[in-house]
């Protein structure tokens, strides 16, 4: 080796680092890959022992996820028209027919409405509150901020019973609005604190320049402050969405029919003769997608955002 450098790691160091990072990535991605693979297995492959790594992929799990099916007798099957679509064909091969769509699509839509709705309100209200806390003289500001944070000092589920009773009284049980309000309330403290940090980092001078340039305070806020807070808003939105999207306990407790989200629904997918693991895995895979896409889209902001503005210039 020619010499020692403080900034440039040696080849051996790079090699070791690479191996460590790749092993860690494999360990963390393994369950995910397992779920995705299971979604494409047949029910018998999914419970085979020893587990099958190589298998004949099938979309049966996905078809089962999206449809409800009825078993029919072989002679009835003979009387039916031949299947017209590939998914009907998969179902017929099992000796069943499609009775209609399953509730998964609607549950998934509920998750989208509630997850993104509560994320929107958390970030919208959080940005306004954080801006006020950051810029204005607010009486007992520190106490208020502590009070806001204190809502996160116990697990939200600790107040499940009062919330359950309250929702029943107010008619919010099993409604989209109720769940959006609940997740917004839980996320708001996080979003106020995170966003206040980001807005604190934006020099006051930009707004003052805008005020001088002939803009009102509110115009200065949304034309000058908001674009610069985009990084913080994006990373806050990701954190809020991940919480609301994955939340299980309140969803089980407060929703059943109309507003049930995907997390409490997926485990209830039961096939004929036991748990339909491929369908469950298919549901989990699809369920992962929105957060993953959202995070990938905002990844650039997230990576910059989690340094909490330390390197912003």
């Amino acid at each position: 080796m020619s010499g020692f450098s403080i900034t440039e790691p040696s080849n051996r160091t790079k090699w070791i680092a690479g191996v460590l990072v790749i092993s860690y990535a494999l360990i963390t991605i393994m369950p995910l890959l397992w779920i995705i693979a299971t979604g494409f297995k047949s029910p018998s492959d999914s419970i085979a022992y020893p587990p099958k790594v190589v298998f004949q992929p099938t979309l049966e799990g996905y078809v089962n996820l999206f449809t409800t099916q009825t078993r029919i007798t072989p002679d009835m099957q003979d009387k039916l028209q031949p299947p017209t679509t590939w998914y009907e064909e998969i179902v017929r091969d099992k000796g069943m027919v499609i009775a209609g769509p399953s509730r998964f699509g609607q549950r998934f839509l509920n998750s989208v409405i509630i997850g993104f709705g509560s994320t929107f309100f958390s970030v919208f209200l959080g940005t306004l509150a954080a801006y006020a806390f950051s810029r204005f003289k607010v009486p007992i500001k520190d106490d208020l901020l502590f009070f806001i944070l204190s809502t996160r000092m116990m697990p939200p589920i600790a107040v499940a019973i009062p919330i359950f009773l309250m929702f029943r009284q107010l008619g919010l049980s099993d409604t989209h609005l109720g769940m959006i309000l609940l997740y917004t309330a839980v996320n708001l403290s996080l979003s106020v604190w995170l966003l206040k940090g980001f807005i604190d980092e934006i020099p006051l001078e930009y707004e003052e320049a805008a005020l001088i340039d002939g803009y009102t305070r509110f115009q200065a806020f949304y034309k000058v402050v908001l674009p610069q807070a985009a990084t913080g808003i994006a990373s806050t939105a990701i954190f809020c969405l991940i919480f609301a999207w994955n939340e299980y306990a309140f969803a089980v407790l407060l929703t059943s029919g109309t507003a049930q989200t995907a997390p409490p629904f997926i485990p209830t997918i039961i096939g004929v003769g036991g748990q339909d693991w491929p369908a469950v895995a298919a549901g989990a895979t699809i369920f992962l997608m929105p957060v993953m896409i959202f995070t990938i889209l905002l990844r650039k902001h997230l990576l910059r955002g989690i340094t909490f503005g330390a390197v912003r210039k």
């Binding site: 001078e205 003052e208 320049a209 005020l211 001088i212 340039d213 002939g214």
Partner: protein, 365 residues
């Protein structure tokens, strides 16, 4: 363009008084310096003129209109910030045109205005660049562009050169002054750098602890400081203070330092007790004949002149003398003082005593 009048302007932050009852007038087209050490209230004063801070009491007149409680956007002034405050999410063109957009000016006209300003400042080639990668000087020019593009009633500048490298600062100072001379716009410029203030300003206000210490043209302030603070703050090295006990009567033309008599401008105000004899370093001459003796403590060679630190019976002083005559540490020398620019101060109040020399200067402040 406009005249700006500040009347009894005051700003309290809780118990702390940042600016106390300041009054001064900035004439139309003047390049006006607000000078003082950090924390003296100069920036707060500027921000009150701009409307970024509301005064606790007092009045600000811009072009004859009282605006002290009006929002900044209704005052029609431009502000150049110390860190420039260019909008980081916009390119140079959008930064410069931003004030025009708020006025709802048609696009074609905005484009033409921006082109004019870019030409004046010599930044046509960077109009479409993002502001992030610009050099300090170009940022400065863009900030100026944003200020001049809308022909405001006045320019307010808060240490606009403070963020630049020393070598570049001089160049920008000249550019700024040239720009001002060309546009003839009323400009209020905050700085803590007395050289910058003297070099660029038509008029200077010296502030300290929220109080206006003196107000006048640079040379008057340099020659006839109104207070010991101004005498000490302006000039490098600053004015020398020779401390003595004595009694000055109205009409006196001499004072006694350590038993020796020195001429001073005819005094129009009497005082007694602890007094100070103030003299600029360049008004001290080394003279072997003089009975007033001092010992050389240190010498600094500056090319054509040298600064000599001297121990006298009335305190340590510095003299600026030609380098032609070599002086060594430890030498005993005699001193004479040019009586024309001597100012006597009352040490208790820190104020200059009125004399024939400074009466015209101190009366109008």
């Amino acid at each position: 363009m406009a005249q700006i009048i500040i009347k009894n302007l005051r700003k309290d932050f809780g118990d702390f008084t940042a600016v106390q009852e300041s009054s001064f007038t900035i004439e139309d087209g003047e390049f006006f310096m607000l000078l003082g050490p950090s924390g003296c209230g100069k920036t707060t004063t500027l921000r009150m003129i701009a409307g970024l801070e509301l005064p606790t009491s007092g009045e600000v007149f811009i072009d004859g209109e009282e605006v002290s409680q009006k929002p900044a956007r209704e005052r029609d002034i431009a502000f150049v910030f110390q860190m420039f405050a260019l909008y980081p999410h916009m390119n140079v063109r959008n930064n410069i045109s931003y004030p025009l957009k708020s006025q709802g000016m048609p696009k074609a006209q905005i484009k033409q205005k921006v082109a004019e300003v870019a030409h004046i400042l010599g930044i046509e080639d960077i109009l479409n660049k993002p502001v992030g990668g610009l050099s300090g000087g170009d940022r400065q020019r863009v900030a100026l562009g944003r200020a001049i593009v809308r022909d405001p009633k006045a320019f307010l500048m808060d240490e606009p050169l403070g963020a630049l490298d020393a070598e570049f600062r001089e160049h920008m100072a000249e550019e700024l002054r040239a720009l001002h001379d060309r546009m003839g716009a009323t400009t209020i410029y905050v700085t803590h750098d007395q050289l910058e203030a003297m070099q660029m300003g038509d008029k200077i206000v010296v502030m300290n602890h929220g109080v206006v210490e003196q107000f006048g043209v640079p040379q008057e302030i340099y020659d006839w400081p109104a207070t010991m603070f101004v005498a000490d703050f302006i000039g490098s090295p600053s004015m020398n203070f020779l401390h003595f006990q004595g009694n000055v009567e109205k009409g006196d033309r001499t004072v006694h330092l350590d038993g020796h008599s020195f001429y001073v401008p005819e005094q129009l105000q009497g005082a007694s007790g602890d007094l100070v004899f103030g003299i600029r370093p360049e008004n001290i001459t080394l003279s072997d004949d003089s009975p007033y003796r001092a010992q050389v403590l240190a010498t600094e060679y500056l090319g054509t002149t040298q600064i000599i630190t001297l121990e006298t019976a009335n305190g340590t002083i510095k003299a600026r003398v030609p380098s032609t005559k070599p002086v060594k540490m430890g030498d005993a020398v005699g001193l004479t003082f040019n009586p024309r620019n001597v100012t006597l101060f009352d040490k208790g109040t820190g104020k200059a005593l009125i004399s024939e020399g400074n009466k015209g200067v101190l009366d109008h402040g």
